[in-house]
Amino acid sequence: MLGLIAPTAAASAFDLLAWSPPGWGATLVAGLWNTILIAFGAYGLGLFIGVLGAFGKLYGGPITRDLLGVYTTLVRAVPELVLILILYFAVTDAVNQFLVFNGYERIQLSGVAAGIAVLGIVQGAYSTEVLRGAIQSVPAGQIEAARAMGMPPMLLARRVTLPLMTAAAVPGLANLWLTCTKDTALLAVVGFIELTKATSLAAGTTKAFLTFYLAAGVLYLILSLLSGVVFGRIERWARKGQRPMAGGGM
């Protein structure tokens, strides 16, 4: 069976996946590291945009609301792959024009930075919607009480709205994180070497397609299972102090 999977003579699956150079283990792990790096960066940027967007959508003026509505609708209606291409060119162009305008040399934007920026903008639209729903689930009385006590808006957001909405937001945010790790694979299409691209390079060179794609699949799966465990813990922490649903509380 292994002979079938790896047609190159005398190279078993384990030799191919070995760490040191005849094997491709180090390449795959480097790719995985890039995937995790971009996923973290994009997720963080997305959350930042999402918090601002959610508050803007709920409490902003009419123009802010409509602009944010256009942003979330557009991003969610166009395929991520197409957005990545458009934003990749647009972001690189914008940075370079800015640099040239200020008298600097043109630069080649690093893959990690471009990937984080592009996926972050995509994630931001989805986070906006998740967080908006979560903020709306905060009982209005809590926010009104805080306002009545004279809390300024920033303090209110930090002390009341954000802590209370976390529990409602965690399941949606966990889903978004999984989407985010999987969307990094799309950067393979623009040639950035993350896990999927590293795998396709290894597979193309050794012709052991099944071995490498299955190995990468296992790596992605481990990542998603571990994330599930971590988010389960976060949710339990966020629900700390909440009465259980079945108890008829609230």
Partner: protein, 257 residues
């Protein structure tokens, strides 16, 4: 459009949007468009066809997967759960490449496959694209159907049993229709997501609307215009899917208390 929509700031924003569209139409380079005009309908049709076929076939797999998880014995529910976790835990692009390059590289080694009637089909790319998309739909919708099947009130099934309905009949007449009705809004959203993941098939040489736009860029070195047109096409398709599911939902009578 109701009166609430036409507020002064919206009229200004719409005017701005119209100005941007006009600017794009007149100031950007659209000279390539006539050369490719005859290829666009077929490419759009491929995207629609892939979405529709994979959703239909995927749902057929998803219903048993959901049923196995919702009510099956452990030897059915465990494999179904593992399958859903694997599909949902790995990127579609990887699954697609695994099937196309991995499976595709295995098949030629067997002479009996090469000599069979299936070989002319298996040599093309679209069966792998359809298979990968279908399996992915099955994984995601299996999870949705599990929740929907579990959400049907037990009294409905008990009533069916009390009326003497056989199990299969009560499944097709009572359980499944109510579960599908519950899941319809979710399935509508998932169909848009599915349509949005079809451009990935361009990476295994299936010519859909995305790969056509890439070809324009390769032929003419024009970057933004094909991509912008492509985004508009996808937005229109997403809007149509949303409208279609709104219409479907309105056809099913539902009692609101």
């Amino acid at each position: 459009m109701t009166k609430a929509f036409w507020k002064p700031h919206r009229i200004v924003m719409l005017a701005l949007a119209a100005a941007i569209v006009l600017w794009c139409a007149f100031n950007m380079n659209w000279t390539w468009l006539p050369d490719y005009l005859d290829k666009i309908p077929l490419a759009i049709w491929r995207t629609i066809w892939l979405t529709a076929a994979s959703m239909t076939l995927g749902m057929m797999l998803a219903i048993p997967l959901g049923l196995a998880q919702a009510a099956g014995p452990w030897y059915l529910s465990t494999p179904a759960r593992v399958y859903c976790s694997i599909i949902r835990g790995t990127p579609l692009l990887l699954q697609l490449w695994l099937l196309y390059y991995g499976l595709g590289s295995l098949f030629p080694q067997f002479p009996w496959i090469r000599e069979s009637w299936m070989w002319p089909i298996l040599r093309q790319a679209w069966p792998y694209a359809l298979l990968a998309l279908t399996l992915s739909v099955a994984g995601y919708e299996g999870e949705v159907m599990r929740g929907a099947l579990k959400g049907v009130p037990g009294g409905q099934l008990e009533a069916a049993r009390a009326m003497g309905m056989p199990r299969t009949k009560s499944f097709f007449r009572i359980w499944l229709p109510q579960a599908l009705h519950r899941a319809l809004p979710t399935i509508g959203g998932e169909t848009v997501l599915q349509m949005k993941s079809t451009p990935l098939v361009a990476t295994i040489t299936v010519v859909d609307i995305y790969s056509l736009s890439k070809r324009v860029t390769q032929d003419t070195f024009i970057v933004y215009e094909p991509l912008l047109l492509l985004a508009v096409v996808y937005m229109i398709m997403a809007g149509m899917i949303v409208l279609l599911f709104k219409w479907l939902e309105s056809r099913v009578p539902s009692r609101t208390a």
